[in-house]
Symmetry: D2
Amino acid sequence: MTTLPERESLTVDLNADLGEGFGVWRLGPDEDMMVFITSANVACGLHAGDPGTMRRTVRMARERGVVVGAHPGYPDLAGFGRRPMNMPPGELIDILLYQIGALQAVARAEGTAVRYVKVHGALYNQAAQEPEAAWAVAEALRQTGGDLPLVGPPASAMADAAARAGLRFVAEGFADRTYEDDGRLTPRSRPGAVLTDPEAVAARVVSLVRDRAVLSRDGSRVPLAVETVCLHGDTPGALRLARAVRQALEEAGVRVASFA
Amino acid sequence: MTTLPERESLTVDLNADLGEGFGVWRLGPDEDMMVFITSANVACGLHAGDPGTMRRTVRMARERGVVVGAHPGYPDLAGFGRRPMNMPPGELIDILLYQIGALQAVARAEGTAVRYVKVHGALYNQAAQEPEAAWAVAEALRQTGGDLPLVGPPASAMADAAARAGLRFVAEGFADRTYEDDGRLTPRSRPGAVLTDPEAVAARVVSLVRDRAVLSRDGSRVPLAVETVCLHGDTPGALRLARAVRQALEEAGVRVASFA
Amino acid sequence: MTTLPERESLTVDLNADLGEGFGVWRLGPDEDMMVFITSANVACGLHAGDPGTMRRTVRMARERGVVVGAHPGYPDLAGFGRRPMNMPPGELIDILLYQIGALQAVARAEGTAVRYVKVHGALYNQAAQEPEAAWAVAEALRQTGGDLPLVGPPASAMADAAARAGLRFVAEGFADRTYEDDGRLTPRSRPGAVLTDPEAVAARVVSLVRDRAVLSRDGSRVPLAVETVCLHGDTPGALRLARAVRQALEEAGVRVASFA
Amino acid sequence: MTTLPERESLTVDLNADLGEGFGVWRLGPDEDMMVFITSANVACGLHAGDPGTMRRTVRMARERGVVVGAHPGYPDLAGFGRRPMNMPPGELIDILLYQIGALQAVARAEGTAVRYVKVHGALYNQAAQEPEAAWAVAEALRQTGGDLPLVGPPASAMADAAARAGLRFVAEGFADRTYEDDGRLTPRSRPGAVLTDPEAVAARVVSLVRDRAVLSRDGSRVPLAVETVCLHGDTPGALRLARAVRQALEEAGVRVASFA
């Protein structure tokens, strides 16, 4: 009896939101983050990411063997897609198709392809909880016709909608956030909701992958099965945290690889 | 000897710029124009045409058997893409890829496809004359990888660039504009540059197709071989003019059909 | 006993939302509406109304003796300011100051001035009901420092907030909408919520001004004291309706004049 | 004979472009720059600077005794106002009024005022050379009616237009740029056009103020009388450079103070 076979089966993807600048503006050390992640969620122009930024980001990802995903959001540059916009499902589908298609053309021009979709900001939160928004997201993916997996929180409205639409769903955990007993993220407004110590975050991610569970803020064991872990690219200390997570996973014998 | 075989070979496409509204705003009687044209140049969101408008326009085209083309322009809603923007070729390629890809996804969702590209407004004029802009347009099409033909003025920088890039080029004439002796359009600023009488315009289009030439503003015969004729959809009297042209072509035995 | 003194005291303002185009796009017959109204609510660039459109609209108003008001909305061109945007009060204040100031400069350049404020679309509805949004609107007016009156629905959160901020509040009724027993507008989604018959609308406005009450959708008498009545400028039949209202008011001896 | 009186008369303003972020995006260390400058050119929303950013920037300036100027540009977020836009003078006037007015309202809400105008980017370059654009800029200031001085390059089309419009013109030099023999800036594309050594730049600014001249790139003495010197806030090393300039001026006995 060895632990080898078990270890071999342990794999996780590391994703980050990149290309979130616009025009002259930059957000986060995209190029450096590429070293640690396996999937790049690329902004598609409506909440961030003009065509030139999209192309540079896709090129960097391709050059480093990082898989490209579409990261579409609400059409709200000034609010960075973080304001809920109360859009009917039909409109939501159309803005998602628009953004995914735009990135697909950019990716094709760079000799690569969009391999998954993860929606951004307020839309992510709404589609996690509201069946109608979740349906619209899944339906948009179905209509793109490319068998693109959808990334979202486990046991969410998005997970349900993806299942119903016959889409592959990729459950996502957050490296630097605490969870409540019910498996939901602690709201950012709560003190302690965001973790910043690289060692603590790294250890947490390793145990999340190994045990398929996290300790909740209250210390209970919360089952949490995820295929990908999100690293934030735009917080202070993002790079140190990403390095610590990547290193800890590799030292623990976890294979870090794209789910796509 | 009959004229039948000759007549049978006469075919022309009629195109119009459609879907040029944005949000609540509309521009021109899109639905009614669909009756007369065979190719719809659909705005792609940066100078006009939000995702919802794009989808409605594509759907109308599909339902009426009208071929869908991408009609990308400068990122300038306030100026409707009519202001030259002095963009380096690399950026130009990226904004074109972005727009074409976005429309491709919308078209795919509607069970159809983008079949050609015609650039809009100031970009059309620049790419007609400036080799660098023309190169960028052709290069963007090459990078989309879909063998999309490029629509533009005959004997233009765009025609040259398309030839060099190995793209099919579709020469376009204008129904309601006069030409100069050198085959160029009379600038709009000149009195008489825009024709408004439906019968006169219709007769002009018929002779353009039949004789592969027009009479210039000065009365000279100017050779002008075109595969498609542009009908403006947003001018007063646009519908009457479109109807007259379509009817005159059919009465003259010219087949009106997409070039794609 | 004569009715004259009573009649003389009856005055009402007629307002309409104008300048709601953007770039090449137009919305409604602004110039013709100017004949019937006494106050023009001018869009300020974020949901509609680019600087050129603002200027043309202000000039038309000035030339016809129509008073100019600012009509600021959410920063959402694609949604025309009709999507609630969930903006914190501080941001709301800043976008309102921005828009009011922009129109003030345009008005000053045209030799006139902004004389009141009425917020637009989703923001109007939110500020009518939510104390926090209403506070932000009133606070923005206070911070502009120009003693500008605020137009809004009677007995609303806006009315309360204006009172608390020491602002003049101008209660507004809607010509073409039915009211519920509690004095609120019937939601547009309800059948019959929007009235389209010019004679019926005109009679309704006259009795609203004369009796300071309307008959609710259920036939009850609902007290409703308003200083201004909104005419919609962008619906089909808008001009016929505006003409009928204006004419009926004048025939009934009501003075139609700006409240400012 | 002492140098004192002469020294006492030596005064210069130091200005920088600030508030050039948008939404979540930041550009340059605004707060730190405030320590060294006496005039803040605040972006007004069309090329950069949303209402919230404008307000924060104005507040920082007020708190530190820095004078606020409007820094309006072309309506082009994606291009940061650096792309010439070929706008007719009438439209130019309107977008300038719009932006100046918006900032005036924000400044008023912060208990301060806009005290001058300096146009941004491509518009600055065009108005420096093209009489028509320069006229539009001066005319916009005239129409704002506030006797605002215009900042621009000495001996430029803007200087002429300001004189003709009866505006105060404030000549500006650049701390970190070399000049040609004719008094124009060396184009950025030329090697060595941008200076980065803090000591060299500081010495250059001192001699510019003291001698009312600079040494051109070719070593000739070029007369250059300026009232304000622009420090770039968004280049690497901007703060060190700003500190060096400010310190060198003070050590040389030059009074650093707003021109307004």
